[in-house]
Symmetry: C2
Subunit: 231 residues, 2 copies
């Protein structure tokens, strides 16, 4: 069974208070993508944050840094202007997820207050409008230790497991697999980014062909400190 | 432009000395996938390592640990049986990439000695046989700090950039984007894994619809120690 990833074009600039479900539906229509059961709608958090009013003034570098510090529950490392921080949700990323790219000059976008809830809200609206049973993933673009370059990861999910637990499944030699928990929503986020393209500003994609249902939360991905050897 | 990911089924068990190009071609034929220009053939390293004879005896836990230590250039952390090590290629991962899953009991598979070269070799063979201009990515499954669950990443590449450098591109508000280097081959590796499925043992997938050419190496992804805040 092959996987298909459709970019959703024609999404307009989003403003605080906008109904994201309606915005995404109009994009789907403009892109000629009709949702079907098991589709996964992947949404970059920036339009979610904007719709939820999570955008603030950051007139200069100092104001931007203070915003990042305010959004941080803990600061792990600091180098020059960059801080690596843990957000209130538990995610660890640059500047606690506060971002100035793709927003008007002098402003910064924060992460959604609860991106799992945001994903659920979008899902309910899209399901109501289309009748299809779908899932929603909200993403952000994170750096990683050890490996250069950024990748998209999941920060919110509804209607999918966050992690696919294959422990106990037999491997190809009929032995029980050991530590095999796949961060499936992070793989979905990365896959969707292939159809989005950073400079093209396509904030939504649909991943079709996965046969997954579940009830995970992106916060399931947060590694408990006692398991984490790299804080 | 949508992205499609085709699983390549019917790949037999691979043994040392096997011609991987021929093995993959027979799988493509069995799966009814004809390669076209710009296709990316994603191959899990395990069949690459097996074909290259990178498999050794590991009769017990002690022998397995010694093998991991031998393959490590540096050991970053150690907890119980698990070591987090840097490989000779520069990648940082569990047990220096030495793995006992999906191999016969009492054996362990090492990483390819040079997975970029392996990718190039497979690419040349597939291009010669099909006439299509393609790219090849060799993957492994890595854990990450801070986030639970494993994801597939690139450890070898041929015919693609490893990193997409969007620095200097205008963002949606016509400002120059700052630090935006996308680890595109890692996103391709993660996307391909969606079509493979761990327990199903599909070791090859084809990603179609990317419009990328380049000449990167997976070792481009290794973050230089002086840039890395988390060793």
């Amino acid at each position: 069974m092959s996987i298909e990833i459709f970019p959703v074009q024609g999404i307009p600039e989003v403003a605080p208070g906008d109904d994201l479900g309606a915005v995404i539906l109009s994009g789907l229509e403009a892109s000629d993508v009709a949702l079907i059961d098991r589709d996964v709608v992947v949404v970059t958090h920036k339009i979610v944050s904007k719709a939820e009013g999570r955008i603030e003034a950051a007139p200069d570098d100092d104001a931007y840094r203070r915003l990042a510090e305010r959004e941080a529950r803990a600061i792990l490392r600091r180098r020059g202007d960059l801080i690596i921080a843990q957000t209130e949700h538990g995610f660890i990323c640059a500047n606690a997820g506060v971002d100035r790219s793709n927003v008007p000059e002098g402003q910064a976008v924060l992460l959604p207050a609860d991106a799992d809830r945001s994903a659920h809200h979008i899902r309910v609206n899209l399901e109501r409008a289309t009748g299809a049973s779908i899932a929603v993933v909200v993403t952000d673009t994170f750096g990683r230790p050890w490996r250069r370059g950024l990748v998209d990861v999941a920060i919110g999910v509804s209607g999918l497991p966050a992690i696919l637990d294959l422990r106990g499944s037999p491997d190809t030699h009929d032995r029980t697999m050991h530590v095999t928990e796949i961060a499936i929503v992070d793989e979905i986020a990365a896959a969707a980014d292939l159809a989005m393209g950073k400079a093209d500003a396509i904030p939504v994609a649909v991943v079709r062909g996965l046969d997954l249902t579940g009830d995970g939360r992106a916060t399931d991905l947060v590694r408990p400190p006692e398991e984490d050897m790299f804080r």
